[in-house]
């Protein structure tokens, strides 16, 4: 039986600000700028937006969107507080809203001054999801995401022989893609040697294993598929989507299997809904807060068996022209950190055939993931409508 949400929603508009390190604009201004761009890209007017699922905490809330965009009749204001998985999980929330007849056009957006404003280790301490880490782990010196996620990477290396060379392959490949994009913080080629020589942040993570702290905004519009057909852009449907939560979601330390993210639960549901599997993907946009996080998700997503993602990413497989091009926009590692909404935007751009120099020839179906809050996961599978 076809899942009732399959194909019922489409991404109709995408918008981004310039990604930078150093801005005079507020996070809210960046969020609104990207939101207006996404609405215009769809061929809509701000007044057509009747639902919002913004990133939270941090950034605009319903009151800000009504006041800035002049929304006449907002029918849904929701948050999906899953850290880096929030905005891909928001695609599920938006799909429920438009397929259930509550909304026609839902705006998902984020704006942040990760470079010019408060840094990530400062922000996290205020999140309720981090209360256990703040009580039990911060006092011994562990509170930044790099420190919280590093033991998973160490364990993967110990169990499976994964090496820094595998990590470097991800950083170097994604950097190459960022350079092709044109709107990216990092614009110089990165070599394996430069990766290995970069300073250690939280063993085994070196500087170039870590995502950027950057400024920028990103937004997209999710519309009911029947409304999408009348709009400006080629229709990109959401075929399947799911969110998943790991064991011990608020403490990695207490999780029986450090390498089992929420994606393990979400991926089979999304594949079943979409009617396609990992082997069908023409490309993938994987949340890359750290190089290792990509390795772990490739396994959780079923692209390869547990322990095999290190060798899997080698020999050009994840680059343009390879079997599974990854993060063709430069990702969080090299384009900019807008909590992964840039990954969803890039998937849409690829499926429309608008990815410029990074275009994957014949891209028809692909997936995007979100990962955050110490292991929450979400994915969406999209396809160009026939």
């Amino acid at each position: 039986m076809t899942h009732p949400l399959r194909g019922k929603a489409a991404v109709t508009g995408i918008g981004e600000t310039a990604y930078s390190r150093g801005t005079t604009k507020s996070g809210l201004a960046l969020q609104m700028e990207a939101s207006l761009a996404a609405i215009a890209d769809a061929g809509l007017k701000p007044a057509d937006i009747d639902g919002i699922v913004p990133y939270f905490p941090g950034g605009g809330i319903a009151e800000d969107f009504i006041a800035n965009l002049g929304l006449p009749d907002l029918k849904l204001s929701a948050f999906v507080p899953m850290g880096g998985a929030s905005l891909v999980a928001a695609l599920q929330m938006a799909t429920i809203a438009v397929s259930g007849g509550v909304c026609r056009h839902v705006l998902i957006s984020v704006g942040r001054t990760g470079y010019s404003g408060a840094r990530v280790s400062t922000r996290l301490q205020q999140f309720p999801q981090f209360a256990l880490a703040a009580e039990f782990e911060a006092p011994v010196g562990v509170f930044a995401p790099a420190q919280l996620y590093a033991p998973g990477a160490r364990r993967h290396m110990a169990l499976y022989g994964t090496t820094p060379r595998h990590f470097a392959e991800i950083a170097v490949t994604i950097r190459r893609h960022a350079i092709l994009n044109g709107n990216a913080v990092m614009t110089k080629e990165l070599t394996v040697e430069e990766h290995h020589a970069s300073r250690m942040i939280a063993d085994p993570f070196r500087l170039f294993d870590c995502s950027l702290e950057s400024d920028g905004g990103a937004a997209l519009v999710v519309s009911a598929t029947d409304a999408a057909r009348d709009l400006r852009q080629p229709v990109v449907q959401i075929l399947g989507m799911a969110e998943g939560h790991p064991d011990s979601p608020a403490s990695i330390a207490q999780r029986a299997d450090l390498l089992e993210f929420g994606l393990v639960r979400a991926a089979p549901r999304a594949y079943a809904m979409a009617g396609v599997g990992p082997a069908d993907m023409d490309l993938a946009q994987i949340y890359d807060c750290f190089t290792f996080t990509v390795i772990n998700q490739l396994e959780n997503l079923g692209f390869c068996k547990p322990g095999e993602a290190g060798p899997f990413v080698m020999e050009g497989r994840i680059g343009l022209g390879g079997a599974l091009p990854l993060n063709t926009h430069g990702g969080l590692l090299s384009q900019g950190h807008v909590v992964g909404l840039n990954h969803a935007i890039e998937l849409v751009r690829q499926l429309r055939g608008q990815a410029g120099r990074a275009q994957v020839a014949g891209a028809e179906v692909g997936l995007v993931t979100g990962y955050g809050d110490m292991g929450d996961g979400a994915l969406a599978i999209m396809a160009r409508a026939a």
């Binding site: 280790s121 009580e135 010196g141 562990v142 790099a146 420190q147 998973g152 330390a253």
Partner: protein, 143 residues
């Protein structure tokens, strides 16, 4: 990647976790146990996830364990830890979790070993470190 703080982040115990912190002050490792089904759980919380009983007590458990994984705090994300320099911080599987199958871990600095010698499964023992007035934190040393 800088932060202005120059003090150690302090635990803010909850009603549920207070006995754990009080135990450390008395140099005892106290872990919450369900008084209905007997299962231990850590970190402390009001409900037993196995049987949903809300009755629990803290029992002293053995301090031995094994390395599950680790990191090294090469970059201090907080000015306080810059003074201490890089430390190995390890996730330790307490032996006390073993018989029940429960995951009981303590995340704490591991003293007296070089990072090159670190390995999954390494045997360690919890020690008590008074770090300032009124605060004792766990740490580990090789067994």
């Amino acid at each position: 990647m800088s932060a202005p703080a120059f003090e150690r982040p302090k635990p803010t115990p909850s009603r549920e976790s207070q006995p754990y912190w009080d135990g450390l002050k008395e140099r005892r490792l106290l872990i919450q146990h369900c008084t209905n089904c007997g299962m231990p759980r850590h970190y402390p919380r009001p409900v037993c996830p196995h049987c949903h009983s809300m009755e629990s007590e803290f029992r002293e458990v053995a301090r031995g364990g094994a390395v599950h994984s680790w990191t090294v705090t090469d970059h201090p994300f907080n000015g306080f830890f810059k003074k201490a320099g890089p430390e190995i911080v390890a996730l330790i599987d307490l032996d006390a979790g073993g018989p029940s199958g429960a995951t009981l871990r303590v995340n704490a600095p591991l003293r007296g070993i070089a990072r090159e010698a670190m390995a999954v499964g390494l045997r360690v023992r919890l020690v008590f470190e008074p770090v300032e007035e009124g605060l004792v934190l766990p740490a580990f040393e090789p067994e």
